[in-house]
């Protein structure tokens, strides 16, 4: 595949992520923070998010498995996840956290467990999407091309 084709694929793929709600405007903010002096900024932050949050998801899982579930603790974890997903523009993860928190407030264990599954689903889905995105970018750079800037006018 030649560079131009790869670039077009990347643009289409990125657009789809916005259209499907995986990403929101905050991701564009992150892209603006990347430049020649910090060429890997987006990959670094996103990777940090997935590493950091993996642990959070484990903590959430065990917190919900306790005999006496501490909903304040669960809520605190979800709040954290909501915050960091919001900071990288991972919109669907963030939205799943918002729903989760409302059930924490209600102290509804069954719904909380369902929410945890949904959050995990969105989390791994997002991870997958980001990995695809970064791989496509890598391939373009390896082929000597540049990463086209994300245009937001058409969606």
């Amino acid at each position: 595949m030649e560079v131009g084709q790869m670039q077009r694929r990347l643009v289409e793929f990125t657009k789809s992520l916005f259209v499907e709600g995986f990403l929101d405007g905050q991701f564009l903010q992150l892209q603006q923070l990347q430049d020649d002096s910090n060429p890997d900024f987006v990959v670094e932050v996103v990777s940090l998010f997935f590493q950091d949050s993996e642990k959070l998801l484990n903590d959430l899982t065990s917190a919900l498995e306790q005999q006496d579930v501490d909903f304040k603790k669960v809520d605190a974890h979800v709040h954290q996840l909501k915050g960091s997903s919001s900071s990288i523009g991972a919109q669907r993860v963030k939205n799943a956290c918002v729903v989760f928190r409302s059930f924490c407030e209600e102290q509804n264990l069954q719904e909380c467990m369902r929410c945890l599954q949904l959050v995990k689903q969105e989390f791994y889905l997002a991870k997958n999407k980001f990995e695809t995105l970064f791989t496509m970018e890598q391939q373009i750079v390896a082929a000597g091309g540049s990463i086209p800037a994300t245009e937001i006018t058409s969606f």
């Binding site: 923070l33 900024f41 932050v45 909903f71 909501k82």
Partner: protein, 239 residues
């Protein structure tokens, strides 16, 4: 005004475009201390600040921030015995385990050595009581997360040493404007006030409580300023 569109509140108006240079000197970049317990957010805010030509130090907690500022958390005398690299602005997350951003704000404003340092609060939750509390305690601005480049560019306006003097006449107007906004909002908010900020409400988990340390009324994110217990706790910690 559509409440949903407002993403930051300021204590006073600023004409950002008039500010070409940074205080204290043109040759020196302003130094910002960023406080946030989230690793991801620290990385983002650091980059946001650096790209906006600030020098940055990030710390993960209010107590670390106080240590960095040379104000030991336990001592109330406010003398400097630690590192004191000059800080021109503090930007802090509101919701943090242990010392909240509000607590940090209070400690800074209570300190004769530090009170001149402008403090900006960041929060993912747009709670009017929280915003009011912070602005009243002396925060320059309350920014709703996620923080954007445009938010950070606005920070330059707070660096001027004489900004308080030149804006004094505007402060009164701004305070009135804020009060009016608050009154309007309160009428709508009466029925759907964020329960997490009312300690007197029915038992629901506070917005950002942390169960690892026993919540003290003044530092937990759910404390409401008018509750007697919170005031009593605050008085205990005063100089």
């Amino acid at each position: 005004m559509d409440r949903d569109d407002v993403v930051s509140w300021q204590r006073r108006t600023h004409d950002v475009d008039a500010f070409d240079s940074l205080h204290p000197s043109d040759t020196e970049e302003a130094h910002v201390l960023a406080v946030d317990d989230s690793l991801v957010d620290r990385k983002v805010i650091e980059r946001l600040l650096r790209i906006s030509s600030f020098r940055v130090t990030t710390v993960e907690s209010g107590s670390r921030a106080l240590q960095f500022l040379g104000l030991d958390e336990d001592k109330s005398s406010g003398h400097f015995d630690g590192l004191n690299l000059k800080v021109d602005l503090i930007i802090t997350d509101y919701c943090m385990p242990g010392m909240s951003g509000y607590d940090l704000l209070k400690r800074v404003k209570e300190s004769s050595a530090l009170r001149e340092i402008p403090v900006v609060i960041m929060s993912s939750e747009k709670v009017l009581a929280r915003i009011d509390r912070c602005l009243e305690e002396g925060a320059e601005e309350f920014i709703v997360k996620p923080v954007k480049l445009s938010d950070v560019k606005r920070l330059k306006a707070y660096m001027r040493r004489d900004s308080r003097e030149s804006n004094k006449s505007e402060t009164g107007n701004r305070a009135n404007a804020n009060r009016k906004l608050r009154e309007e909002e309160e009428e709508e908010e009466d029925n759907n006030y964020d329960e997490s900020d009312l300690s007197a409400s029915s038992p629901s988990p506070p917005a950002c409580s942390v169960s690892s340390s026993p919540p003290s009324t003044s530092s937990s994110c759910s404390s409401f300023p008018s509750s007697a217990a919170a005031l009593a706790a605050m008085d205990e910690r005063r100089l």
